[in-house]
Symmetry: C2
Subunit: 201 residues, 2 copies
Amino acid sequence: MIVLIGYPNKKNHVQTTAVSDHHMGRGMSLEKDLNDANLYYEQIGRALIHKKPTPIQVVKVEYPARSAAKICEAYYKTPSTTDYNGIYRGKPIDFEAKETKSKTSFPFKSIHKHQIEHLRKVLYHQGIGFFIIRFTSFQATYLLDAATLIAMWDDGQKSISYDLVKEYGSLVKEGLTPRLRYLDNVDALYFKEEESYGKES
Amino acid sequence: MIVLIGYPNKKNHVQTTAVSDHHMGRGMSLEKDLNDANLYYEQIGRALIHKKPTPIQVVKVEYPARSAAKICEAYYKTPSTTDYNGIYRGKPIDFEAKETKSKTSFPFKSIHKHQIEHLRKVLYHQGIGFFIIRFTSFQATYLLDAATLIAMWDDGQKSISYDLVKEYGSLVKEGLTPRLRYLDNVDALYFKEEESYGKES
């Protein structure tokens, strides 16, 4: 039981409606798992991390009488930053999440060059930056420090092998609530010098 | 002249094409001024702050042959967080920007309740949170700490008078590049104990 003093909008019982159930969990997307985890972490006051909206270029908007503005022509834009950012333990946190069906490697082609450049700047500005990579064939999700992947990218590599993800990355444990307990990995990797944070049981 | 060692994609000459010119500046929107300032601050390596994309609910997408996906029905969603966030001097920074034509007060009705709740959480998680409020009639832009406005909101007030904004807030100086030098206000308000940061001349 975690006791929070003065947390804004603290729920006595953490809402679980929007949080995934383990038994229905298999096959759900990484994005849904992360959104569930972030919602849970926000509700218990452990972190404040959000997925950014998908950038969309709006071309044409109609204003039907007595209704909300209707966007009738728009296009998806290439994201210029990563998908997730926020605050954890007083530190800026920023990451990109990707899934691959490959059983042997994670290909870098699914990462945009400006996402790499963005994470490079996150590290320069003393933020915590990483990738969450899921190998869907094994239902295995790893956290990989941004500096590791960026070094390989700069070296001209086109992918990182599953074996190297296992060696350099850190396996994200799955639990009941949240299903994807990735902040435990962040604790172990980025806060090991500091006192340990109360973990949910 | 600021010398940056090892900053990613450092430009020898800071690009100024996308940065506003003082003489054409009058009447430009606060959003444009902030985007220009953030781009400039990112280019010189002083901060990493972005405006989040506007959240849009996509209802219908067409896939014309040999073209990009076309969104043909979508609606604007109410934002659940503030518009701007990022990293400054290793700290998480998060703010909302608003303009008012009023000459006497800034009305709270232009702020969404969940933006208040979001900023409350930013402060709880030890982030830097504030509002940037521009009184367009006076072309005067102020930075107001989130805690000050939230206290008034909690007290049931519906607005903050211009006089109180001047008293509790901090006037953002305008310059050549960037036009809106709001990080100088952040330095003075949130980092006064620490050594001063090299200011652009």
